[in-house]
């Protein structure tokens, strides 16, 4: 029974370290900001740090825990962003900002979960590369639909069209909420660094507890061996859908945070295209597949890096690429892993002998 207690406290300890790391980073950042040591450039990055950390954790749930490669998470982020931005804009003056952002979060999460669920039903029948290709396509479809969508509200209710603003046929007092390719403008700026960090912590709480629960074990058993999981009575379709829906929903939350940090929200390829999906995947792979804490660290570092390297102008992307390769080797090369183990052993051995002496 000793071993069991040891194991439990080990995972719990690991989780607590992750929470502590986020809280510590928050406190340090706040202190630096209040003493004026942080440039406005970095201050502008504080909310994106949280956004990307959340979406990286969400994608890690699909890639690392469920074991399926999704290239469409920017699409779920997009759904969360636009559904919540429309809500916040429509109720800009009706609801106080705190409550409004809370409802917007719920709307974004539920909308993304719903889309994730609907996409998941056909997509999760596929495996490996095929699943990646289809999710990639779904992400693009979602982005393109929103790019062409016009949505407005007037006394008669909600109008929408895929043509142009005039074909909405609205009364004079009507308000256009989504203006096609121009997106949503005038979303209240409800998010800030504190809210973002709280959301990161909530996301961590949901995902880490999910992994340590009965459902999480079922999901990981499917990842490790689908046939064996079925043979012990695990409902493969059900658990795949649960994991994928939660993952999509959390990506939606990241989208809400993203939308409420900008006054004008557009569905450009840069924001919500496949480039973004692949960038999120880069966070997950470099942070370690299945390693939730790693995703947070990688998301923050790799968001910060291109901005810090801006001073190098033309050489920026070159150095960014070299850093990516170096991180990949450090994390995944067998030689590097062996080297890290040896260093760790030597350090702990040194500590032990130090105690004895």
């Amino acid at each position: 029974m000793k071993t069991k207690a040891g194991r439990l406290s080990k995972t719990t300890k690991n989780d607590l370290i992750t929470y502590a790391m986020v809280i510590l980073a928050y406190i340090v950042m706040q202190l630096l900001v209040s003493t004026g040591h942080v440039s406005s450039l970095i201050q502008g990055l504080l909310v994106p740090f949280c956004t990307y950390a959340i979406v990286a954790i969400a994608l890690n749930l699909t890639v690392g825990i469920l074991g399926e490669l999704s290239l469409g998470h920017a699409g779920f982020m997009c759904v969360g962003a636009f559904s919540s931005a429309v809500f916040s804009l429509a109720f800009k003056d009706a609801i106080p900002s705190g409550l409004r952002f809370f409802i917007a979060l719920l709307i974004g999460a539920v909308a993304a979960a719903l889309v994730g669920f609907l996409v998941g039903i056909p997509v999760l029948r596929l495996r490996g590369d095929y699943l990646a290709i289809v999710t990639l396509a779904f992400g693009e479809i979602i982005k393109n639909i929103i790019n062409a969508l016009y949505l407005g509200v007037d006394a008669n209710g909600i109008h929408f069209t895929m043509k142009d603003a005039l074909s909405l046929n609205m009364e004079e007092d009507g308000v256009v909420l989504i203006k096609g390719a121009q997106g949503v403008t005038g979303t209240p700026n409800d998010s800030n660094f504190t809210v973002g960090v709280i959301l990161v912590l909530i996301t961590l709480f949901i995902v880490l507890n999910f992994i340590r629960s009965r459902t999480g074990r079922a999901v990981m058993s499917i990842r490790d061996n689908r046939i064996a999981a079925e043979s012990v009575g695990i409902n493969v379709t059900k658990y795949k859908l649960i994991a994928f829906t939660i993952s999509a929903s959390l990506a939606g939350v990241a989208g809400v945070l993203y939308a409420h940090n900008l006054s004008s929200l557009t569905a450009l390829p840069k924001n919500f295209g496949y480039n973004m999906s692949i960038l999120i995947l880069v966070f997950v792979v470099l942070g370690g597949i299945g390693n939730i804490r790693g995703s947070v660290i990688a998301a923050v570092l790799l968001t910060l890096l291109p901005e810090v390297l801006r001073v190098l102008s033309d050489y920026r992307m070159l150095i960014y690429a070299i850093v990516l390769i170096a991180m990949m080797i450090f994390n995944w090369s067998p030689n590097a892993i062996f080297f890290r183990k040896r260093v760790k052993q030597r350090l702990t051995a040194g500590r032990k002998s130090g105690k004895e002496a």
Binding site: M1, T3, K4, G6, R7, L8, F205, I206, N209, F210, R212, S213, R214, T215, G216, R217, A218, M220, S221, R223, D224, N225, I227, A228, A229, E230, S231, V232, G233, I234, N235, I242, G290
Partner: protein, 252 residues
């Protein structure tokens, strides 16, 4: 009445008749062996019994309940557990969690209760841990509880697979070549384990095996398959001395 009754089971893959008119009747508490040369259709029979394949004809009855055409999950819930010829563990998960996945359907709590860690999560997880440790102890794996399953020695992996199958609380245990790839010492240990499982859990076991020492050592009854058909059936010693069986194995 027998625990497992299989009547006239048959399946074809394209033009190949993989299993034809397969009949077997396993009594409760029996240790039953299914043997035959390579490609005789033994594993196909297991896949039919566990719903991996659907039979073209015939019926499978477990304790009087018709399992024909049911899905793998339903068959597992009805009380059939199995191991695989090539070991299929949840390699990246700890040994303890492998068994806990086997306990999955017997210790329910919802996903939300798990995420929010409501009281039922703590209560059920504690019960699960205790039950899983108990099972690991039975198989002598309690010291390995924290190990990643894929890091276990080969013989222990086999044991863990049996432990995981037993966690589903089955009425019938199917073992597909449990001694494959084992040295004589490991095989001997495995024979003791299988016998122990039968006696300790009062389990009914149907096993596929090539190792004749294991088969003649622990099986009480045998069915011999050859080219998808039953060649001989009966008490172990009678079957093994049957000239037709010897011919099928060694050639004439």
């Amino acid at each position: 009445m027998a625990l497992l009754e299989v009547k006239n089971l048959g399946i074809s893959f394209g033009g190949l008749r993989a299993v034809n008119e397969f009949n077997i009747s396993v009594e409760k508490g029996q240790l039953y062996g299914l043997i035959g040369p390579n490609g005789a259709g033994k594993t196909t029979v297991f896949n039919l019994l566990t719903g991996v394949y659907q039979p073209d004809e015939g019926a499978i009855l477990l304790d009087g309940v018709n399992l024909t055409g049911k899905k793998t999950i339903e068959i597992c819930k009805a009380g059939v557990a199995r191991t695989f010829q090539n070991i299929r563990l949840f390699g990246d998960m700890p040994v303890l969690d492998n068994v806990k996945v086997g306990l999955h359907n017997h210790y329910p709590y919802s996903t939300l209760e798990g995420i929010l860690r409501l009281p039922r999560y703590h209560k059920v997880e504690k019960e699960m841990n205790e039950k899983a440790m108990e099972l690991l102890k039975v198989f002598g794996l309690e010291d390995y509880a924290d190990y990643q399953a894929e890091n276990l020695p080969y013989g222990q992996q086999r044991k863990l697979e049996i432990a995981r199958a037993m966690a589903t609380d089955p009425k019938l245990l199917l073992l597909d070549e449990p001694a494959a790839g084992m040295n004589p010492n490991e095989t001997k240990e495995l024979m003791d384990t299988i016998r122990f499982v039968r006696d300790h859990f009062d389990m009914t076991i149907l096993l596929i095996e090539h190792d004749m020492k294991l088969v003649s050592g622990i099986c009480e009854r045998l069915t011999v398959l050859n080219f998808g058909e039953v060649l001989a059936q009966g008490d172990t010693q009678d079957v093994l001395n049957n000239p037709e069986v010897i011919t099928a194995y060694l050639g004439s």
